[in-house]
Point group: C2
Chain length 215, copies 2
DNA sequence: TATTACCGACAGGCAGTCGGTCTATGCAAA
DNA sequence: TTTGCATAGACCGACTGCCTGTCGGTAATA
């Protein structure tokens, strides 16, 4: 029997299915037939709502983008959180465990999904640094940081973190990983002209309170 | 008439054609028929030499990788060049104009070639930092730099430079670009614990001697 | 009645397979 | 040295099955 729904509902239904399928098989590995079967609609319906397969991906990425940036912005706007902690939380919400977007990102970093990954990367690289830069400026006014290039620093931080800690581009043992985190924090301190250890101290709280101590 | 060649020659012939085709139309946009036509061989021949289309891409990337890393290593090994200048030259050989690999990289940074780009990125991110780290250690011994994390610094530098200056992920005006270069150099000075301006001074020579003054 | 969500057969193009053909090379016999 | 022969592997092109996107038509809704 023919089921008719509102266009927006149907679109979201399709995106939900596609979200899961892309996660399992990647973009290229997922055929439109897979999608049709999963959603339970006909070819024509799919192409009534989306003009191409890539168009579906773009819509999916839009959903991600909004969630990601909104999530980051929400954390960033909470001025009750101390500057340093706020920065770390924003970064973590994007890249590392503990963020609400963990599941979202989880299956994007597969070699199959290169194009999708690149598009997400673009969103992050262009969307997150502005948010962080605002916080940094606040920190500069408070005398915590000192840099003539807050934006470029944040760009560097975000690009590095999202590449090394998020992707599989760099293969690391667990040890290499944690030593890289230490180095990263120290490097960020230098970039921001922060007092040595000022970031590291706050980091400690997160590293333990978030992963290890939960076992 | 049937032309028989040595396997290696034929392979390179195919890779040359593919190099050009991928550059023009991207990986997905290039059909195996395009390749067959360009090289002047039959389907069976192509699949006699390569087991799949992706296998062709991997072989092409291997060629790039060897050229890139070898080129970088060659510059890095020339101990007659002052440390700072050598670093800049290595980075430039990879990313910016003036390097011999300019043409190679030129058409990789298109949205179509996401997978290829990701694979090249992997080569760069894992191959270049070790080379640079060696130079940095030399610089530390000479008292030019001071950092407990030379490798991680170089990783950060390489990842940032290859993402921002090489890709189209960040859209910039020419002005934004050059201001980003200034910021980048200053940030690298901080990371390496170099004297302020010590990198910038050497940079100046390149920026002008390489592009502007040639018009 | 008009709009729009929905349908499914169809076309064109694609990557990869497979059985078979041709050619260069090495070796043995003349 | 020349001739005949066998083997390996470079080469061929028809074929298969799948995949994306189209299109004319149908059913539900407002």
């Amino acid at each position: 029997m023919r089921v008719v729904k509102k266009a927006e509902d149907r679109k979201n239904e399709i995106l939900d299915a596609v979200d899961e399928l892309f996660g399992q098989k990647g973009f290229d590995g997922t055929s439109t037939n897979d999608i049709l079967e999963k959603v339970g609609i006909a070819r024509g319906t799919l192409y009534h709502h989306f003009k191409s397969k890539e168009d579906i991906m773009d819509a999916l990425i839009d959903r991600y983008a909004v969630r990601l940036i909104d999530g980051a912005q929400e954390v960033a706007a909470d001025k009750s959180i101390p500057i340093v902690e706020r920065i770390i939380r924003v970064v973590m919400a994007l890249n590392l465990s503990g963020g609400s977007s963990e599941q979202i990102m989880e299956h994007i970093h597969k070699p199959q999904n290169a194009l999708m990954h690149q598009k997400i990367q673009k969103v992050i690289i262009n969307g997150v640094p502005p948010i962080l830069t605002e916080i940094i400026r606040e920190g500069i006014q408070q005398g915590l940081f000192s840099t003539p290039f807050p934006y470029e620093c944040m760009e560097m931080v975000v690009i590095y973190a999202s590449t090394v800690f998020d992707d599989d581009l760099v293969v690391m043992t667990e040890k290499e990983r944690s030593s890289r985190i230490v180095a990263f924090v120290c490097n960020v301190e230098r970039l921001l002209g922060a007092e040595s250890g000022s970031l590291m101290d706050v980091m400690g709280m997160f590293g333990e309170g978030d992963e290890s101590s939960r076992d």
